[in-house]
């Protein structure tokens, strides 16, 4: 915390320094999404050290101005405005979908490229006048829903029950999952909602069990995703249980314990990087990130969320190098920002920790399904690779 403040302060003081490329970073380092935002922030602190050692990008110093939005949309928008005014060449962030959506009009008006670290497809689709400036690195619900549906079909599942958060996350999953399921001939027989602060989901669980689905998908994130799974098991549900990639953190395993054994979930391949086959494209990059992160923050400290931040920089770095050749960031910031946006969109076959990025005019996610999702099973309190889609 102190160190991070010190970094932010140092950056603010060195605003006069010529030739420094400022990259704005907004993350949710505190508040509800902190368990996602902290590894993202840590990743950028780590990158700052790395860049200081290397002397920056193409001989230009790079400084990350890291601001905390406290998991709050208003704060994220305010931070974005500030970063735009402080001449950031690009903005990375933020952690959550609603806040990222709030930032879009600001960056679009100021014509600053932005790479979001949040999940929803709505952030980059459709690529209209505003989203022209916006890219993102995490897999969408749509992509992950496809992974689940493909896996369900392969296991002979015919009927599915759904229970998800009564918020944008749960609704998004319900929408994309039901669309994907329909296309594959799966029948969604129950669609229930609950709140992350709920103390009981007995009613919803009973309703699902009464319909006897072959599998249940829980559209929730973090530790509150444990409650429905435990209730289903306590009420004697014996079918398959799927979770979303929103639970891929150690806290879920800690709180879930025995209740979440055997859970199936789609995840970014980095979650099980060591178990990936040697031919898997992102394996080497993922292991490299994990090794660096654990060297700095301790064994077992890495998460898939920090890796999204790393991917954002993997995309940004070559784009910066190319943009520096086309425009002068000191003389004409607007032209440089525009050039940078074009160069990000020109990214082709970039191997990152979560997959391979190829942006196009219509696709600002750029991940290929086969490389960006794997199925994982919880076994013995650990993540175990179940299958890849290659």
């Amino acid at each position: 915390m102190k160190r991070w403040l010190a970094v932010a302060l140092a950056l603010a003081l060195s605003a006069w320094a010529q030739g420094v490329l400022k990259v704005g970073v907004v993350v949710s380092a505190t508040g509800r999404a902190a368990s996602l935002g902290i590894p993202e922030r840590n990743t950028f602190l780590m990158l700052q050290e790395l860049l200081d050692r290397q002397g920056g990008v193409a001989g230009r110093k790079v400084q990350f101005v890291i601001l905390d939005d406290a998991s709050d949309t208003t704060q994220a928008v305010r931070n974005t405005r500030r970063l735009v005014e402080e001449d950031a060449v690009a903005i990375v962030g933020t952690t959550t979908t609603p806040a990222s959506l709030g930032m879009i009009p600001v960056v679009a008006e100021a014509k600053v490229p932005m790479i979001s670290l949040a999940a929803s497809k709505d952030i980059i689709h459709p690529v209209d006048a505003q989203r022209f400036w916006v890219f993102k690195t995490p897999q969408t619900e749509e992509l992950m829903a496809r992974a689940i549906v493909v896996d369900m079909a392969a296991r002979g599942v015919k009927t599915v029950g759904y229970i998800g958060f009564n918020d944008a996350y749960g609704e998004g999953w319900a929408r994309f999952f039901e669309a994907e399921a329909k296309a594959k001939g799966l029948q969604v027989v129950a669609s229930e909602r609950y709140n992350s602060s709920d103390t009981s989901v007995t009613g919803q669980a009973l309703r699902i069990i009464a319909r006897r689905p072959d599998a249940v998908l829980i559209g929730a994130s973090g530790t509150p995703a444990v409650l429905p799974q435990r209730t289903l098991k306590e009420r004697g549900y014996g079918g398959l249980i799927y979770q979303t990639h929103g639970v891929a953190n150690p806290d879920f395993l800690r709180v879930g314990g025995k209740d979440v054994e055997g859970t199936l979930l789609p995840a970014g391949p980095i979650l099980v990087a060591e178990q990936l086959p040697g031919t898997f494209p992102s394996k080497r990059v993922a292991l490299d990130y994990i090794q660096r992160y654990e060297a700095k923050y301790g064994i077992g400290s890495y998460s898939t969320f920090g890796a999204h931040a790393w991917d954002a920089w993997l995309i940004l770095r070559p784009a910066l190098e190319r943009a520096l050749k086309r425009a002068d960031a000191d003389k004409d910031l607007a032209a440089f920002r525009a050039a940078l946006r074009d160069e990000i969109e020109a990214t082709r076959n970039l191997v990152a920790t979560h997959g391979v990025f190829t942006f196009t005019k219509e696709d600002h996610l750029g991940l290929r399904f086969e490389d960006a999702a794997v199925m994982v099973r919880v076994e013995g309190g650990r993540w175990k690779l179940e299958r890849t889609f290659r």
Binding site: A34, N166, S196, S200, G222, P224, V226, E234, R235, G236
Partner: protein, 325 residues
């Protein structure tokens, strides 16, 4: 919808309802004696299981720091006469916490005493100086404390949930664990104990007198300040114990308290913030209603539960007459 499902739903509603009921009783009691609507009761409830988890993991929870800080403020407010009570309390509490690191079973007692100490200190520091203020000022203070305590909970315990080990493992029958039985038993005994307390003990009678008329109580030698402290003490005791018993069933997190407290408040409102039995029955109604709406219309559950307030408030407004503060 068959008999089994009906049974499960009723049981689920009962289990949640009794906890709302205890919180509702605590709120009615505190309101009657001090005119404070105890919004932060959910946070007091939350502090207990999370402090327990911290102690069991061999760490001193930040809540102890909060208690000591409030204790010092309390001593400051009390000045001279009576200042040694909070200081001694804080000292004893700290000693108990460090002892609990070594002797694990003590952690339960430490967590409950912490919450009681926090509750009483909260009254002494924040509400007693405001005792002549309007109900609205007291409510504003209460809401402020709720926000502050929840924020502190996030700082102390982080954003994730924790699951303490249940006191009693295993299931009695399908749908009811021993821990659930413990919750029901606790609620039953609490109601009984409260009844006996108010009916037979001098303190209880004094408390009722203070609730009835503060001036009258004062004239007959009952100190309203002391009554306020006892009311807050009982309320936080109920909250702390409920939290400890409930946490293994529902997972504990910094945000767990608000919804529980709010539903307790809905129940208390159903009882017009005056009647204990009606508040408790109202809480059971909220529990059952919640359980059934989560079966039939899960997406609208919260909205429907809070919609229960409308007829209750309407009824209250019809009955209302101008009363002196």
């Amino acid at each position: 919808m068959d008999a089994t499902i009906l049974g499960f739903l009723l049981l689920d509603g009962l289990q949640n309802g009794v906890i709302y009921g205890l919180l509702a009783i605590a709120m009615v009691l505190v309101f009657a004696v001090t005119r404070v609507i105890l919004v932060p009761i959910g946070e007091l409830l939350m502090f207990a299981p999370l402090s327990l988890v911290w102690l069991q993991e061999g760490r001193i929870p930040g809540t102890l720091g909060l208690a000591v800080a409030l204790g010092l403020l309390w001593a400051g407010v009390a000045r001279g006469r009576g200042a040694w009570v909070p200081l001694l309390g804080a000292l004893g509490l700290s000693a108990l916490f460090f002892l609990a690191l070594a002797v694990k079973p003590l952690a339960y007692g430490a967590a409950v005493l912490l919450v009681v100490y926090l509750g009483v200190a909260t009254y002494r520091v924040f509400f007693q100086p405001l005792r002549e203020a309007t109900v609205l000022s007291l409510l504003i203070m209460a809401v402020g404390l709720h926000v502050a305590f929840q924020g502190l909970g996030l700082v102390f315990f982080g954003p994730e949930q924790f699951r303490p080990e249940p006191l009693l493992k295993g299931e009695v029958a399908v749908g009811l664990s021993w821990q659930g039985v413990l919750v029901l038993l606790f609620a039953f005994l609490s109601v009984l104990a409260l009844y006996a307390f108010f009916r037979f003990s001098l303190y209880g009678k004094a408390l009722l007198a203070a609730a009835e008329s503060r001036l009258g109580a004062r004239l007959s030698g009952i100190s309203p300040e002391e009554a306020g402290m006892v009311a807050f003490g009982i309320a936080s005791l109920l909250a702390g114990l409920s939290g400890l018993l409930l946490a293994p069933l529902i997972n504990a997190a910094y945000f767990m308290g608000f919804m529980l407290g709010l539903k307790g408040f809905v129940a208390a409102i159903l009882g017009g913030l005056a009647s204990y039995p009606v508040a408790f029955l109202g809480a059971l109604l909220v529990g059952f209603f919640e359980s059934f709406t989560s079966f039939f219309a899960s997406a609208y559950k919260e909205a429907l539960v809070f919609l229960l307030l409308v007829p209750a408030l309407f009824y209250q407004s019809l009955r209302a007459r101008a009363v002196e503060e």
